[in-house]
């Protein structure tokens, strides 16, 4: 019993101050009005109350979230947190930003509202993230400067890297070294890309060959295990997989949740509700409703036909695909609906990255076994978790689930920001 986690990916604007080739946002000039923040808070809190949930994770992102301004965030955070406290509940805020407009004015906001950490994105090599004026190189230079400034201000920065063809070409070793040595990071994660949203010219360059992607990721896994794992470098999602395969509680990315619809919703600046940022920015046919127009979020989520498709997806996959006989069902459940939808035009199929995932899971399982064996030799016991109404009638070891020290983790949900 881990308790239910409720996470809202909140897009206060879809505007952005840069121009990435693969961006799937409709960059409409629209911002969430501060006047609507109390209503938004009320809707979320009503839902939490109805579902008996104590806390809600808010992942602020965009577009580019920092466009809203530091003061706007301070005010919004205060309004939300006071509303939550008045009802005995809690919002936990996380920030995902492209960092290019970071300056010292953000320091107090990030320390007070975001627990001193933020998430950002940078690919390697960077060929697709570009400034509005200036290309990818200028973007990299500016972003790196902002990263250093944020780090110097005592902010912990987690970086998401979206893989693309040039990453595969440069190879896992160089890729790993860039993040750990050149940027000096101890916490980053890799994301698989998908051609979300309206078609654009560079879409094709984001369709990667599965075999090449699997090779890259398994090699990266090897490099990390050899060079970083024992030194405490967190490389998502590999670190979560290692937790999983060593019997520890793992906070897996949304693409491998039993059902992402159990945990996430996304709300945009106009109040549109959808499964996650990818859906709310790209696929109107899958909107669940509008949180400002409908009074009852719980009811919206229960009755939305679009959401039903998400809810029922894993069920349908074990009936219609080969996931039930898959060794890794317990960790994958058919993968990500949006990756499937954007590639196949339906979400009722298994994730097109299936073979890539299997390769990565296989690697994680191998390393997990090795670690368990090592721990067994050092005298640690494997956690066993007997549960059930009647309890267990065995003399087996009592339940001991190891709790992970869960750092703020971004849902691996997006190529945006």
């Amino acid at each position: 019993m881990s308790g239910r986690v409720f996470s809202v990916i909140l897009l206060p604007t879809s505007e952005c101050n840069v121009a990435c080739d693969y961006c799937f946002e409709h960059k409409e000039p629209h911002k969430l009005s501060a006047l609507l923040v109390p209503l938004l808070s009320k809707r979320l809190l009503d839902h939490m109350e109805h579902e008996g949930m104590e806390a809600c994770e808010i992942y602020w992102q965009g577009g580019e979230a920092m466009i809203m301004g530091a003061q706007w965030f301070l005010n919004a955070g205060k309004v939300m947190d006071e509303a939550a406290a008045a009802r005995g509940k809690r919002f936990i805020h996380y920030l995902q930003t492209n960092l290019v407009s970071y300056s010292d004015v953000w320091k107090p906001v990030i320390h007070s509202m975001f627990q001193g950490s933020l998430g950002t994105s940078m690919d390697y090599p960077n060929v697709h993230r570009k400034l509005l004026k200036g290309g990818a190189d200028s973007y990299t230079t500016l972003w790196t400067r902002r990263l250093r400034e944020a780090q110097a201000a005592g902010i912990r920065v987690g970086v998401i890297a979206v893989l693309h063809q040039a990453s595969l070409e440069i190879g896992a070793e160089a890729f790993y070294r860039y993040y750990t040595e050149e940027l000096g990071l101890e916490d980053f994660q890799v994301n698989t890309p998908f051609p979300g949203g309206p078609a654009n010219e560079s879409e094709n360059s984001f369709i990667l060959d599965n075999a090449a992607l699997a090779k890259f990721l398994t090699e990266l896994f090897d490099v990390w295990m050899e060079q970083g794992h024992h030194k405490g470098v967190a490389l998502g999602p590999f670190d979560a997989l290692i937790h999983h395969f060593t019997g520890e509680t793992a906070r897996l990315p949304c693409i491998w949740k039993e059902n992402c619809s159990n945990q996430f919703i996304s709300v945009d600046s106009k109040g549109t509700v959808a499964q996650c940022d990818c859906w709310v920015t790209s696929y109107p046919e899958y909107f669940f409703g509008n949180v400002f127009q409908e009074q009852d979020l719980t009811r919206m989520l229960r009755t939305s036909r679009a959401r039903q498709e998400f809810v029922e997806r894993p069920r349908r996959l074990v009936e219609e695909e080969d996931c039930l006989s898959c060794r890794y069902l317990s960790i994958c459940h058919g993968g990500c609906p949006v990756r499937t939808y954007s590639a196949l035009g339906t979400m009722q199929a298994k994730d097109p990255y299936c073979e890539v995932y299997k390769a990565v899971f296989g690697r994680a399982e191998k390393y997990g076994r090795q670690l368990l064996r090592k721990r067994a030799l050092l005298g640690a016991t494997r956690p066993v978790a007997p549960e059930g109404p009647g309890g267990s009638t065995t003399t087996a070891a009592p339940a001991q689930r190891l709790r992970p020290e869960v750092a703020a983790q971004q849902p691996v949900a997006t190529t945006a920001s």
């Binding site: 039993e258 060794r327 317990s330 005298g379 007997p386 009647g390």
Partner: protein
């Protein structure tokens, strides 16, 4: 007779007042009954058995609200058809303990796979399995034994293996002596440590593992009359005083009539479980299932010994 500290009564939810102070589990079979049990103040309510409602999302949405100590045993009556609906329990499992119980009917192993993959404990009720279902039980046991991802206990395999591992599992004497032990003891008592090679479980432990020994688990009908295990047949009034000795009496009668049980090396553990309610059931396949589990327990012991040796080196 029934309302004592060592017996748990499984009672239809509709027959409960919510004030019961004797150990019981509420059996819910209609969606309307769910609200009552979730808000029950009954101090001795141990868990809720939900039967035949796996396909009703509204039941599970309600059960997933809030965090609660009250555990659920979800009975999937037709596992070959309803298996995929187990996904509906993911949210419930996040807020309370949930176990899946299913009959071993043809095709049940799909539900085993899914429940195991979702980290849900499972109880498979073998009943009197056909040859085809025995094969499926063997596959389910293999899945439980060899699938690295399955950690939650899967009964009866989990406890049978542990017992075999602890005490060897075969009968402790050539002919089973039913009188040994105390069949009405709670499982914990029967599992007390014994001498090397001694049996460390009560006779007929399988009945207890599967929660079918009326000494410990008695199912009542709507009128409050106990039912014989795995049947809807009420216990006759004159038989009630010996209901707590049901398993020992059953074992004794099997020995007396020279049933194959009296020659079976798993008799002490099994207690003639498979000879009920049809005493003519032929156990050939079941014996090989026990043998398979026994072999697995030996492998486990050897692996452990090897690991210990390696650790000492």
């Amino acid at each position: 007779m029934l309302h004592n500290a060592s017996t748990l009564a499984l009672v239809p939810a509709a027959s409960l007042s919510g004030q019961e102070d004797w150990p019981h589990a509420a059996v819910v079979s209609r969606a309307e009954e769910m609200e009552g049990v979730l808000t029950s103040q009954a101090p001795a309510l141990q868990w809720v058995e939900v039967e035949g409602l796996i396909g009703d999302p509204s039941v599970w949405a309600r059960a997933a609200q809030g965090r609660d100590e009250l555990a659920f045993d979800v009975v999937v009556l037709n596992p070959a058809v309803e298996y995929s609906a187990i996904y509906r329990l993911v949210d419930v499992h996040a807020v309370r303990r949930v176990r899946i119980t299913m009959p071993a009917s043809a095709g049940f192993s799909k539900a085993v796979r899914l429940a195991g993959s979702l980290g849900l404990p499972v109880r498979i009720v073998p009943g009197q399995p056909s040859a085809e279902v025995v094969r499926e039980l063997e596959q389910a046991a293999d899945f439980y034994l060899h699938h690295a991802m399955v950690e939650a206990p899967m009964e009866p395999f989990h406890t049978v293996l542990a017992m075999m591992h602890e005490s060897g599992g075969e009968n402790s004497a050539a002919t089973a002596t039913v009188a040994a032990g105390n069949a009405s003891a709670r499982p914990e008592a029967g599992l007390a440590k014994g001498q090397e090679g001694e049996r460390k479980y009560p006779p007929g432990a399988l009945w207890i593992i599967l929660e079918e020994d009326p000494a410990l688990y008695v199912r009542l009908n709507a009128e409050g009359v106990p039912l014989y295990p795995r049947t809807n047949r009420p216990v006759e009034p004159e038989k009630l005083p010996r209901l707590a000795d049901f398993v020992t009496d059953h074992m004794q009668s099997l020995v007396e009539e020279g049933s194959e049980c009296s020659r079976c090396k798993w008799f002490e553990m099994c207690g003639g479980y498979f000879k009920w309610p049809d005493r003519d059931y032929v156990c050939q396949g079941v014996g090989s299932l026990f043998s398979r589990l026994h072999a697995a327990s030996r492998e486990m012991a050897a692996d452990l010994a090897e690991a210990e040796e390696e650790a000492q080196r």
